[in-house]
Subunit: 189 residues, 4 copies
DNA sequence: GATGAATGAGCCTTCATTCAT
DNA sequence: GATGAATGAAGGCTCATTCAT
């Protein structure tokens, strides 16, 4: 019933694409099926409902983001300020490439939050909070409430990417955002 | 078709409430009518369609926010850092009180942006940008790109309000956000 | 929402007709709507679901049958054997005219029996049982178990009407059925 | 396509069970396959369609019933009244044990009657009619229309078995039904 | 102007049937 | 022969919109 992982991924890719371009109710499952080149009924072999598909997209995108940020931290031995600049850049590029992704969260906020989603979201915050805390411990950062700040950052990046002025350069955007965040944490730059 | 301003406001209030708590497609016009205590057909005397009602809510909420921020600036003779702290507080309280822009803005992002909405959104950014620019001119702030920063701020505030840890104090939250933003702009605090 | 009793009856009439000619799953609500000359959505103003419509048909038909039998008993002052012959005739004509009616019961048997339906069905049995008991009391009938016999009779009539040999005369059929039942109760004829 | 008789029987057994407990449209072929422990595709090696399976069940059940009744008559040398009491008992026990013909026959009534089904049904009636006729010929029974009476009996038995009052004893039930039928045929008991 | 019963286009979902393995 | 993933036609149901009152 769900052997074909490749097909499942194709459905998720398609759904991610479509959900990022239109609000939930404008995305038709017949479109998803057509674009993914599967039968409409096939969707239901892999996902219980339209909502289920939606959340699956959300979870996959978000967890791949968090994973890539975590990998970045693991594979590089950096100072907290370098780490923060790095993950802000990753986040920005991710949001920029697939502007929906973080946007999808808007929907989810009003829904009964699933445990899995809550856990995932917390893991992003924990990641930020951990960096900030290390920076504070090393005397690099100043922050009265790392938990709050961790929550700022994704919102901040999201906003700038969504509403980026036309013609902006992505690299510059990442640099600017990182600088702002680091200054916000008391780093002199 | 538009005599009864009081009724129109009641409809908008109701719609604002409902649209802020659920995704667009889960808000039924029959619910709006029932809660607003008007007939379903009456909605169409005041608004052309569901989309039209939605945008009317969005515009009203957003413009009242911008107006109250502008009023704050006009009625007080403050330094740029005081101004920024003030409007951040206003924004935070607004988002916190009516989490309207959760879904509201979420939906609108994927929609064909109307000119009016674009103008309104720009006015918020301009407001922030103006303060930042004045701060820079007065040597209070440092910022390489006030236009980008203006876009950060609302996203930042939105995020912290949406995902505020349980038990957080709103005043402290506002103070923290303001401090972060001001530090981000190079203010020593 | 359900002012128009006339429209509701038209829907019920149509549904009764269609449900009597085809099994449940072959009856399309779009057909019901078309034949009843109402919109498809209108059906849902009067009935919660297809099942609900089905049961409404069943209940209406059955209760009208029981009511007409009861009226026959009330309006005539007859001996038990005359009463029994009369109600058997009424039942036979009813089944014959709308062969579905009793047939519908087949479906209902396998369903979670609603209280209302149970009550209605019991009222038919009670009606038969009452007549039989009066007959016994007056020394006209012999029966060791009027409750069981009451359950026979509708099944008996149903069967003969459904499977009546081609060319049979309805009056003769009623007479024959009544005779059989009365003899079954020990009446010499 | 039809080698494995054992598997075919398992499918028929399962289908008989399920079709007798739920209306046609609620019985899913995937359920039949699962319960029968065969693949869904396998069903189509033995039966052309869902309808085909349905009628196969109906025919098998019904013909086994008729066969067992016929065997009873052949293997015992009885008087018509004994024969009738016997076959009524067989019928009652059959219906009682597998309420198959609740839904089964219910559905079939509204369907285009196949020739095979018609023939089978007629064989049951003929069996009853034959007994009745012999009883009349021997002066045991009185009946103006054995053909009609033959049609009563199965309906009568069916009804009592379906709607049997809770706690009833099957043996007593059979005795009572037989007595009623025999009295209906003018036998003094 | 106000209403809400009526409408029907359109979507999600189901499930009998097929066919590649 | 056996399987069950894949299919897509079809139907139940919803809900924005209309319009007669």
């Amino acid at each position: 019933m769900k052997e074909d992982k490749e097909k499942e991924q194709r459905i998720l890719d398609t759904a991610a694409e479509l959900f990022s371009r239109q609000p939930f109710h404008k995305v038709l499952l017949s479109d998803v099926a057509r674009v993914a080149a599967v039968g409409k009924g096939t969707l239901y072999l892999y996902f219980k409902s339209k909502d289920d598909l939606y959340f699956a997209v959300l979870l996959r995108e978000f967890s791949s983001l968090v994973a890539s940020m975590q990998r970045f931290l693991d594979e590089n031995d950096l100072t907290p300020d370098e780490e923060l600049a790095g993950v802000v850049g990753i986040l920005a590029r991710h949001v920029y490439a697939r502007s929906f992704n973080i946007e999808l969260i808007g929907y989810v906020v009003t829904c009964p939050v699933t445990e899995e989603w809550q856990r995932l979201r917390a893991s992003l915050w924990d990641l930020f909070e951990g960096i900030i805390q290390r920076g504070i411990d090393q005397g690099l950062f100043r922050d009265e409430s790392p938990a709050l700040t961790a929550r700022y950052i994704s919102g901040l990046v999201r906003a700038v990417c969504l509403f980026t002025p036309a013609g902006a350069d992505l690299d510059e955007l990442c640099r600017h955002a990182a600088t702002f965040v680091l200054r916000g944490l008391g780093v002199q730059r």
